[in-house]
């Protein structure tokens, strides 16, 4: 389904984001990428739809190599969910969800906003299935809560029924309970359709709960690849470079504070 072949990325400022990562994600898998900030999670995800071009190596989606020539064809087959939701705050929920259907329609129809009846029905169904009501349809996105906004983001990602969805830290700006609900929604939607999901996360306990497979990155290299059940404190140390201890005293800003204190218990739960 999704195939990274020893991809490497070095940004113009000399930062080595990825150093030769190979990864195969089979169809229908919910694959979570873990790693501290700067480990290369986003870079890896954004290579899958060509937002980032690898300096070395290739990426294939459904056997098609990601390149300038194939982007226009392959991108509509890949949905994407973003950390900051990336919705148009001033537009309505309906417009934001409908925008997910833009690549599949002629430009003149898009400019006039003439979506097909099928697309309009699809949008309504998706808005319902992500847990919003008809009353939300014409509301501006800026009036919704963070969790509701990400639900709109998920609805938009599934508009074209893509076989692959990339989720770049979809719950990093949400509270723990909402994060749980949103991820659970994402997994349900993906399961129903058999969609492959590549999702980056910071919360280990959420990864253990929802993932079919966890891939952990550190300094641009894979340090763990396996089922959630195989995740243990040694792996934690390999990813984050320290013991999974109650982090109250450290006040680490880059990772959501809720993730670390919960972690020890979450590992128990996952087993």
């Amino acid at each position: 389904m999704l195939n990274f072949e020893s991809v490497a990325m070095r940004y113009a400022d000399g930062t080595q984001a990825l150093g030769g990562v190979s990864l195969q994600v089979p169809a229908g898998q919910f694959c979570v990428v873990l790693g501290s900030s700067g480990a290369g999670k986003s870079t890896l995800l954004r290579m899958a739809n060509g937002l980032v071009k690898p300096t070395r190596g290739t990426v294939q989606v459904e056997g098609v190599r990601i390149a300038d020539g194939s982007l226009a064809r392959i991108r509509p087959r890949i949905g994407m969910i973003h950390q900051q939701f990336n919705l148009v705050a001033r537009s309505s929920v309906a417009d934001n969800v409908l925008a997910g259907a833009l690549p599949a329609m002629p430009t003149w129809r898009a400019l006039l906003g003439l979506f097909t009846d099928e697309a309009r029905r699809k949008a309504c169904e998706l808005v319902e299935s992500v847990g919003l009501q008809e009353q939300h349809l014409l509301r501006r996105v800026s009036e919704l809560s963070g969790g509701q906004q990400q639900r709109v983001g998920i609805a938009r990602a599934f508009m074209l029924e893509p076989p692959l969805v990339l989720a770049d830290e979809p719950v990093a700006s949400l509270d723990p309970q909402t994060s749980h609900d949103v991820l659970s929604l994402l997994r349900t939607q993906a399961r129903e359709r058999g969609t492959t999901v590549l999702c980056s996360l910071h919360q280990i306990e959420l990864a253990c709960e929802f993932a079919d497979r966890i891939v952990a990155l550190r300094h641009g290299a894979v340090v763990f690849d396996g089922a959630p059940g195989a995740f243990d404190p040694q792996v934690f140390e390999a990813i984050y470079g320290r013991e999974p201890m109650p982090a109250r005293s450290e006040g680490h800003a880059t990772e959501p504070a809720a993730a670390l204190p919960l972690h020890a218990g979450a590992l128990e739960l996952a087993r």
Binding site: N49, L51, L71, A72, R73, I74, R75, P76, I78, G79, M80, H82, Q84, F85, N86, L87, V88, A89, R90, S91, D95, A99, G100, L102, P103, T107, A110, L111, G113, R156, L160, P162
Partner: protein, 332 residues
């Protein structure tokens, strides 16, 4: 080097450098002021104020203003036209509120037979329309307004592609970008009055020249501001649509336009407001509307007519200003 926070240097306002700059500006301002006779302006104004409160006998400024006021008021409302000069005049179908008056004029004349001065009575008929001139001015004002509306519409149409090409993140090519930026700059650099002068030569007297002159200038203005808004619009929604393979036009329509619409409306309303005011001015060089009427009456020393026109312009601008403010607060 790590110093304790108590020793850190946080600059204060009004340092030595800013004082030097202030002094320099003052000195330059003084010399510039001398060249544009700011001293004389102050003394003349002071004289005027003193004369107004009765502390001085007379003042140049005040008497000048008085002359203007006396000649402009009372403004001309009615209109008289000699019946003989109206083509196809129908006595039974007069315009509303109008009537026909017979005016007798007596003038002394030399009778060639008797070589005596005789008083001769001439009588002629005049059509009197009590609100005729007011109506005429209103029609001219409407024409001015129409010039402004069409200039604004044309400006929007012209500026849309210019804005697209002169926004760094949407321009098709660097060369196109530079070209579009210079066209926008050129449009803005030429004042309406100047381009109207030339367009009157090309298109003849009348509103076409006015519309085009205003449209060109506003297109430059709108193009620049639209482009800057497009460039600074939040990139995140745009990236989301690019990521799923939407082309530039679609991204513009669904991720940029909704974001920048309030500013676009605000600029466009401002341009419309400005075009109404400028439409009166370009009329002065013969580009149609109330300005043309104003210039004609002024040249014929019909100062009462000029008074009516000025009041009409003032009222229109006032009403439009309130209207634009209301629209802005509602949509922007």
């Amino acid at each position: 080097m790590n110093r304790p926070a108590s020793a850190w240097n946080l600059p204060r306002p009004f340092g030595a450098r800013s004082l030097c700059v202030l002094l320099l500006v003052l000195v330059l301002g003084f010399f510039a002021g001398q060249r544009v006779e700011m001293g004389r302006m102050l003394s003349l104004t002071a004289e005027g104020v003193l004369a107004a409160v009765g502390l001085r006998e007379q003042s140049q400024v005040l008497s000048g203003l008085g002359t203007i006021a006396r000649s402009l008021f009372p403004p001309q409302i009615s209109q008289r036209t000699e019946v003989a000069r109206i083509e196809g005049f129908d006595r039974n179908r007069l315009p509303w509120f109008s009537h026909v008056e017979t005016v007798e004029t007596r003038e002394p004349r030399l009778n060639p037979q008797t070589l005596q001065m005789e008083e001769r009575i001439d009588s002629r008929e005049e059509l009197v329309e009590p609100f005729g001139y007011l109506w005429h001015v209103a029609a001219k004002m409407l024409e001015t307004f129409e010039i402004a509306i069409w200039a604004t519409l044309l400006a929007i149409v012209l500026s849309a592609p210019l804005a697209w090409c002169s926004a760094k993140n949407y321009t098709p090519h660097r060369v196109v970008y530079t070209l579009a930026r210079s066209v926008v700059g050129l449009c803005r650099a030429v004042p309406e009055l100047v381009s109207a002068l030339f367009l009157v030569l090309a298109y003849g007297f009348g509103p076409i020249a006015g519309v085009l002159a205003l449209a060109l200038h506003s297109a430059g203005f709108l193009g620049k501001f639209y482009a800057e808004d497009i460039e600074t619009a939040d990139d995140k929604p745009q990236e989301a649509l690019r990521a799923i393979g939407a082309n530039k036009l679609k991204v513009m329509r669904f991720a940029v336009l909704p974001q920048v619409m309030p500013q676009f409306i605000a600029y466009t309303l401002y341009v419309l407001d400005r075009n109404v005011r400028m439409a009166t001015v370009v009329g002065l060089v013969g580009a149609g509307g109330i300005g043309q009427e104003l210039k004609g009456r002024y040249d014929m020393y019909n100062y009462a007519h000029v008074g009516t026109i000025l009041v009409a312009i003032f009222l229109t601008v006032l009403v439009l200003d309130r209207l634009a403010a209301r629209l802005r607060s509602r949509y922007a």
